[in-house]
Symmetry: D2
Subunit: 153 residues, 4 copies
């Protein structure tokens, strides 16, 4: 999905320095959301579906959280940094919990193995981005806007 | 949307003690998501739309975050508490930031006044629920599952 | 969720004649989406979950379709009528198929009974609205814009 | 996003013959949803935002419709064909209308040019898939289940 990289760069207020990181995270989030939904549906079709309840649950939660996070990160106009930070944090957790759950079934189900890997990749990408934007003068978790005049991404 | 209350109570693993709180939060989240999307669209139709950019942005972010939060909270099977906590936290922030932004336009635009109020109500409901579930033995923000045997909502 | 009615009326281009119908549909869609997601999760927690596979599937599909439909209908700016018509049509079908499926389990599971009723109500509301807007000079299913000058809802 | 192809193939009920087509459509839908949301946000940041109202509207609608369509198509368990057909139809229309709108601004705004192309690609992929699954014995638009015993994708 390299096209999202080109797309972000055409934004009137594109952050040239970080747009590549955002594009990579957005690609990882779109992939993770689809793979998690596919994993939930594969688990549902398994013979021993009763054993896959927690995996289906974490798959669906992770997919929903990834999609919301992507919707926020794709926007570059007047970014409310504190919301983005908190949502990224929730997303990192969702990917970790879902990745851990899927890993437990990775030997039995190939779809869980692929899903665990996809969650790990997404978690790493989100974690890296959170570090990048946190170190740039916006304190994570603060409720106050920074004193920078623009308050944009 | 009282029907969501009845619905949650029919769940095989319903948490009878707290199901009423969940229903109220779910109703507030559905309302807030729709009102925020409507506010973004009303702002877009305003004559001085250029002044409403940040309001449109926070409206859309808040709507996306509310919808993801509702999707998680409507589920009662094998709840991954740490994800739910982090997502509720992000949602409280989104409602606060969007409510603050809308309030600044409340005198000019009735849709912003209604949206600010709706965000406040949703924020309060989410905040109350976060307090409820945090005080019940699950440490907020912890990555470790509790030692309770069930690990369910 | 009466607040959505007030909200829609504050839109700079509100269609005063039909805003009440839109509000009722939006309320039904938000309710149906949440109830369907709750039903899917309740089915997943049932002892004989393997028998509920098709119900879980139609629940999730109906919820996703209802949410997308609501996102479109809440907007009143420059409405692309042909998309709205086609999406309403898909939504009516989703509610019908999910309602039929849930009805088959209504005697066994109270959550399926409530979900079937909620789907019926939403289907009726969407059907009524589709009739309303189809009879107002926009041919359903046509790909060509009407020759009305405004082309807005 | 080749990983979605591998993922779909691991499903216990994977349709080996068509899984490649589904993967291509899913990739196109994820891309189109993100690009449309990015285009809406870029339009919002343009100096003459008042002229971009209809473009923002069709971008947001197309993104919402694409996401719902992807959520349905990623599932392979007990597929309700008539819902999938109707949703694909709505998606083809959304991509067409949004692509047409963006094309009108393609000379002025590079983001609209990329978005128009992305919508065209997604429309073609969805159109091809609709043809594929329609020609396989399921009448498009029928409300009755087929008499095939499995009624699955």
């Amino acid at each position: 999905m390299k096209i999202i990289d080109s797309m972000l760069r055409t934004h009137p207020r594109a952050d040239a320095q970080r747009v590549g990181h955002y594009a990579q995270v957005l690609e990882a989030l779109a992939q993770c959301a689809q793979v998690c939904r596919a994993c939930a549906d594969s688990c549902l079709a398994e013979e021993h579906v009763a054993k896959m309840r927690r995996c289906i649950r974490t798959d669906l939660d992770c997919a929903d959280v990834c999609e919301a996070t992507a919707a926020l990160l794709v926007r570059q106009t007047e970014t409310p940094n504190e919301i983005v930070h908190a949502q990224l944090h929730a997303c990192i957790l969702a990917c970790q919990v879902c990745g851990d759950e899927c890993e437990q079934h990775a030997n039995m189900h190939e779809h869980c193995r692929i899903c665990a890997e996809t969650c790990r990749h997404c978690q790493e990408r989100c974690n890296f981005l959170l570090g990048e934007i946190s170190s740039s003068g916006v304190e994570e978790g603060t409720m106050e806007p920074t004193d920078s005049p623009s308050f944009q991404r």
